[in-house]
């Protein structure tokens, strides 16, 4: 069965600094990968997804993620964060042969410091 590990529960970053949120997955088959964001008092929203093709995926709000099959990782990056990026970020995985179900990680809370 697939699983997702988000290595950091909280990440503090100064405004305008770069950030990387780490995500590793475990699966015996090929996968789809996702990053979702949950802003304060709002519902989950899809940031980006990897289905196939280019391993570098660009999403909304300047975020991007790179699929690395050999390291089973899908880390999320942004070159310069803003106070509005304060939120909880969830990495998620779905297996190709069970593509009706998404398994989420525990989340990483991004704190933007002024």
């Amino acid at each position: 069965a697939q699983s997702v590990t988000q290595l950091d529960s909280q990440v503090p970053v100064f405004e305008e600094a770069p950030v990387e949120l780490r995500c590793n997955y475990s699966s015996s088959v090929s996968v789809y990968l996702f990053w979702y964001v949950q802003y304060p008092n709002q519902g989950l929203q899809l940031l980006l997804k990897y289905l196939s093709g280019s391993t570098l995926v660009k999403g909304i709000n300047g975020f991007e993620a790179e699929f690395n099959k050999s390291q089973t990782s899908f880390h999320l990056r942004k070159p310069s964060v803003h106070i509005s990026d304060t939120a909880e970020y969830f990495c998620a995985v779905s297996e190709w042969n069970r593509d009706d179900k998404i398994i989420f990680g525990k989340g990483t809370r991004l704190h933007i410091l002024p």
Partner: protein, 116 residues
């Protein structure tokens, strides 16, 4: 257009009581999902509907949990004999087409259930 809505936004109940949580998906979306998010955890899959039928209910923790979607739109998650461990935020999501995860899931704001 309107997004996914969930009612109530908050529900406080006593141990042993019965509760119903409602989800109104985006109009026209055929796939509907329920998740449970406990404190400090990511969303945990409960059940997935394709139209009126439950295509996958493998995430329901036990037979106290049941969900319906009689007309293929609104869904109700029903919890019998609630326990304190059922306290969580219950999320609903909908997606168009065949409900494959390659389709974007649109989440509602959730219902926060507290069992005293």
């Amino acid at each position: 257009g309107a997004g996914v809505s969930q009612t109530p936004s908050n529900k406080v109940t006593e141990k042993g009581k019965y509760v119903e949580l409602r989800c109104d998906p985006i109009s026209g979306h055929t796939a509907l999902y329920w998740y449970r998010q406990s404190l400090g955890q990511g969303p945990e899959f409960l059940i997935y509907f394709q139209g009126t039928g439950a295509a996958d209910d493998s995430g329901l923790p036990n037979d106290r949990f049941f969900a319906v979607r009689p007309e293929g739109s609104v869904s109700t998650l029903k919890i019998q004999r609630t326990e304190r461990g059922d306290s969580a935020v219950y999320l609903c999501a909908s997606s168009p087409n065949q409900g494959r995860v390659t389709d974007t899931q649109y989440f509602g704001p959730g219902t926060r259930l507290t069992v005293l």
